[in-house]
């Protein structure tokens, strides 16, 4: 019998995790198919059509990568605090605040060169998302209010602030039809790759996921974070500053979501619009939990979620189904995940 090395074990565990994820999706797809049948559609054709138009063409694939970019970042926003046992449901709000902060830079300093303007926008975007997580983080670190509730509630505030800014001081005078800001100057746009809509935000997002994985696995902070997540009592008695970690993890998570916001705005839209996120923050939550915070799993799940999300557009156009079917599929996936008792579940702190 071959002895499994630690590395081998890790790979086996990873493969096992992937296999489980495939089963989850299969079950969710079957349930989804039943709903399509109930709506009077042919589920096999609908699903095949979705796959063909997303994965079957170069353009479709590039669009999947575009969708995937903010999802990777919002997944990190959830995954990092989750390692401490914290549940950050606030990705959506943090994303909007990041977009607002970054947009402010883009609108206020258009003459700056791209080399200064873009980094400032991204930095402000991260600051905005991080600050939006600071209040829940502080309240949680003091042991006052559960972060799940506060982060969730703040999701309803941030988009309203964005809408206020867009309808008010930032409204473009050039387009009276749609409420939106003026188009960003060229220097405030993220470069795109290979003549597609894929922008360098994807590379940044992948790098951030890799950084997250590295920090968790190899650094002292990863060890301490895992200790807090595993037994906060023991971690405190070992002298690990748990409250500081709570604040840092939630704020850095918020920063990742804020980065998703400004990257989406500067990379794809080139202007800030109300409702520009179709729930990236919530999808990131789903992705993080489906992959149990595993970085490779997060990449895979983001890809799958992007396919599903785009599939919604396809179904909407070709089958006449409302976009909401996507939410049904995502929700079904989450239910299937939560209904499996055999998988390790993160315990709350």
């Amino acid at each position: 019998m071959a002895r499994a090395s630690p590395d081998g074990l890790r790979w086996m565990r990873l493969l096992g995790g992937l296999a489980r994820s495939v089963v989850v999706f299969a079950v969710a797809l079957i349930l989804f198919g039943l709903i399509l049948v109930a709506a009077g559609k042919d589920p096999v054709r609908a699903i095949l059509e979705t796959l063909r138009s997303t994965l079957g063409t170069g353009y479709g694939l590039s669009e999947v990568l575009v969708k995937m970019t903010p999802l990777l970042l919002t997944a990190v926003a959830v995954a990092l605090p989750s390692r401490l046992g914290l549940i950050n449901v606030g990705g959506e709000g943090q994303l909007y605040m990041g977009a607002c902060f970054g947009t402010w830079v883009a609108l206020s300093f258009p003459p700056w060169p791209a080399g200064l303007l873009l980094p400032s926008m991204l930095a402000m975007g991260m600051l905005g998302g991080g600050l939006w997580a600071l209040l829940p983080a502080w309240l949680r670190a003091r042991g006052l209010v559960n972060e799940t509730i506060t982060t969730l509630l703040m999701n309803y505030v941030a988009p309203s602030i964005a809408t206020f800014l867009i309808y008010g001081p930032w409204r473009s005078p050039f387009n009276s039809m749609y409420p939106q800001t003026v188009d960003f100057v060229e220097a405030a746009r993220l470069p795109t790759l290979f003549d597609t809509r894929v922008h360098v935000g994807l590379i940044a997002a992948l790098a951030l996921v890799a950084l997250y994985g590295f920090v968790m696995r190899a650094t002292r902070w990863g060890v301490e974070i895992r200790a807090i997540g595993g037994n906060p009592q023991a971690a405190r008695r070992c002298g690990i500053p748990v409250p500081s970690y709570i604040v840092a993890a939630l704020c850095l998570g918020g920063a990742a979501a804020g980065l998703a916001g400004i990257v989406e705005v500067a990379g794809l839209h080139g202007r800030l619009r109300p409702g520009f996120s179709p729930g990236f923050g919530y999808m990131g939550f789903l992705i993080s939990w489906l992959s149990f915070g595993n970085p490779i799993g997060m990449v895979v799940m983001s890809f799958v979620a992007a396919v599903i999300s785009l599939g919604g557009d396809v179904l909407q156009i070709k089958q006449g189904l409302p976009y909401a079917v996507v939410n049904i599929l995502l929700a079904l996936t989450l239910y299937v995940v939560l209904a499996r008792p055999s998988l390790p579940r993160r315990r709350g702190a």
């Binding site: 190899a218 060890v223 895992r226 037994n231 008695r237 070992c238 690990i240």
Partner: protein, 522 residues
């Protein structure tokens, strides 16, 4: 109408009799051949050290546990009590140490939930009326509409009692009811019990506090090691007799000490000095009151006491887990009152917690990862971006060898037995030459050999100049290892001794709240 009061003197037939009750848990004989009679109109105290089998016996009577052998008679007839429900049918009620109330419900709702005759539609007014009438009768005043979450611990206990009385219990078991009460609340409780006694209730009072027993009980049964060590009427009982029954005499003389033992450095700066230190305990925690304590380099200070008298709180406040309400904490001559756990750790404080699984170890991390948690500064490289696991491993192997332990370094901590977990924690906390070691129940869960190795490790740390605060329930261990001994009772230091000048009986008396406070500064 009120039932005619029965005579307070014991009637010939006991209300409850236990005969030959035995109960074994894995590795421990909790009860062995216990006989017990409880008469109506009597307060029967069940006295004993922690682990003497008091709670187990009570839970068998209530139907929470099932005995391995023996039988229970209620009013002279053998009955089968296999669940608390059956216990309640026999009019047996129990007030547990941890209350079973629902904090978000009101007092009336909590009580109504427990009533066997609750209607489908709850008649709140009727319940309230019943609560008020019983409250008045036995001085158990509580506001029926108050939320339980807003009640003090003492008030919650009243609710528990009312609950049992309204559910028609005639035999009341109270498991260490005074543990969580303030002094005036204890007096009030005994007035309540006195009233119940007059009305013919049988009360089984579990406790380890001598004073209460001698004041309030009619009959006292002492358990030791799961067996009945003796049963006395109050008139026959005295502090000395009870202590003699509770604590075995075999530890009268401290065990042989190492002959070349170096005396502690009493002329140097103490590694730890607590000055008038008090804490505010939350919920069921014990508040520490006015603790004055010094630990000198090369000294082991033993802390004796029945658990729950502030040991855990003392350890935590020294480590910096809980805040200091009054007084000062001085580490190595410097004021450390405001230091965090991390700050204390960095200045060389080691801490062996009383429960390694919940308080010290991260179950899903490997042994190696667990070992590094307190000393992560030592092994972090490149500003924290890398860990020197090779160094951790080498050090771990060396230390395990030094302690004579052997553990799988790459196994997750949750796969270890309780004893191995304790070994892991001991190595972690004693490895880096700590200046101060706070150790609670150091040898709990260890086999004889490992316990000896752990004690040797502690003694070696002492020889190396560390100050040690050792909390234990094992008097033999304390008398053998300590240079000085303090007794903790109800959050206060009840006595300070040299082990040579004292014996288990005297300690036992102080541990159970008897005798005068004896403090001699050494």
């Amino acid at each position: 109408m009120v039932a005619a009061p029965e005579p307070a003197s014991p009637t010939p037939t006991p209300l409850v009799s236990l005969r030959g009750i035995s109960k074994r848990f894995p590795g421990v004989q909790a009860n062995a051949d216990v006989d017990l009679d409880i008469y109506p109109g009597e307060i029967h105290a069940l006295l004993g050290e922690n682990g003497a089998g008091k709670s187990t016996l009570a839970k068998i009577l209530y139907g929470f546990y099932r005995s391995d052998a023996g039988r229970i008679l209620v009013r002279g007839e053998t009955v089968a009590i296999h669940s608390p429900l059956e216990g309640r049918r026999q009019q047996i009620g129990m007030v547990f140490q941890d209350f079973t109330l629902i904090p978000a419900f009101s007092v009336a709702e909590n009580i109504a939930l427990f009533l066997p005759d609750l209607n489908f539609v709850m008649d709140g007014r009727a319940v309230r009326r019943r609560i008020e009438s019983i409250s008045r009768r036995y001085e158990l005043e509580v506001d029926p509409d108050a939320l339980v979450s807003q009640l003090s611990i003492g008030e919650q206990q009243k609710v528990e009692l009312i609950k049992q009385l309204l559910a028609d219990a005639r035999i009341l078991i109270l498991d260490e009811p005074t543990r969580v009460l303030a002094l005036h609340e204890v007096d009030a409780l005994f007035r309540v019990l006195e009233g119940l006694r007059r009305d013919g209730y049988a009360i089984l009072l579990i406790t380890h506090k001598l004073k209460e027993v001698l004041q309030g009980a009619d009959r006292i049964t002492v358990l030791r090691g799961g067996r009945v060590a003796g049963s006395l009427l109050r008139a026959e009982a005295s502090e000395d007799r009870l202590v003699g029954l509770m604590f075995s005499r075999k530890v009268d003389r401290p065990a042989e000490r190492h002959p070349g033992r170096r005396p502690p450095a009493y002329d140097e700066t103490p590694v730890l000095k607590l000055q008038g230190l008090s804490t505010r305990g939350e919920g069921a925690e014990t508040s520490l009151k006015d603790i004055d304590l010094s630990v000198y380099p090369g000294e082991i200070v033993g802390v004796a006491g029945v658990s729950g008298n502030g040991q855990r709180e003392l350890g935590d406040v020294i480590l910096g887990m809980t805040g200091v309400a009054h007084g000062r904490r001085i580490l190595l001559g410097e004021d450390a009152t405001a230091l965090s756990v991390g700050g204390m750790r960095r200045r060389g404080v080691g801490f062996v917690a009383e429960n390694p699984l919940t308080m010290s170890a991260v179950p899903f991390m490997t042994v190696l990862e667990n070992l590094v948690l307190t000393q992560i500064d030592l092994y972090a490289r490149r500003g924290g971006w890398a860990m020197n696991w090779d160094a951790v491993r080498a050090e771990a192997v060396r230390e395990f060898e030094r302690f004579g332990f052997s553990l799988p370094l790459d196994a997750p901590a949750r796969s270890l037995s309780g004893g191995n977990l304790q070994r892991m924690v001991i190595v972690r906390e004693l490895a880096h030459r700590p200046r101060l070691i706070v150790a609670s129940y150091l040898t709990r869960g260890l086999d004889v050999q490992s316990a000896e190795a752990a004690r040797r490790a502690l003694v070696r740390a002492r020889e190396d100049g560390a100050g040690v605060l050792l909390m234990s329930e094992d008097l033999e261990e304390l008398l053998a290892l300590s240079d000085r001994l303090v007794v903790l009772f109800a959050g206060r230091i009840a006595g300070i001794f040299c082990p040579e000048d004292t014996d288990a009986i005297r300690l036992g008396r102080l541990m159970t709240g008897g005798g005068e406070t004896e403090i001699r500064h050494g």
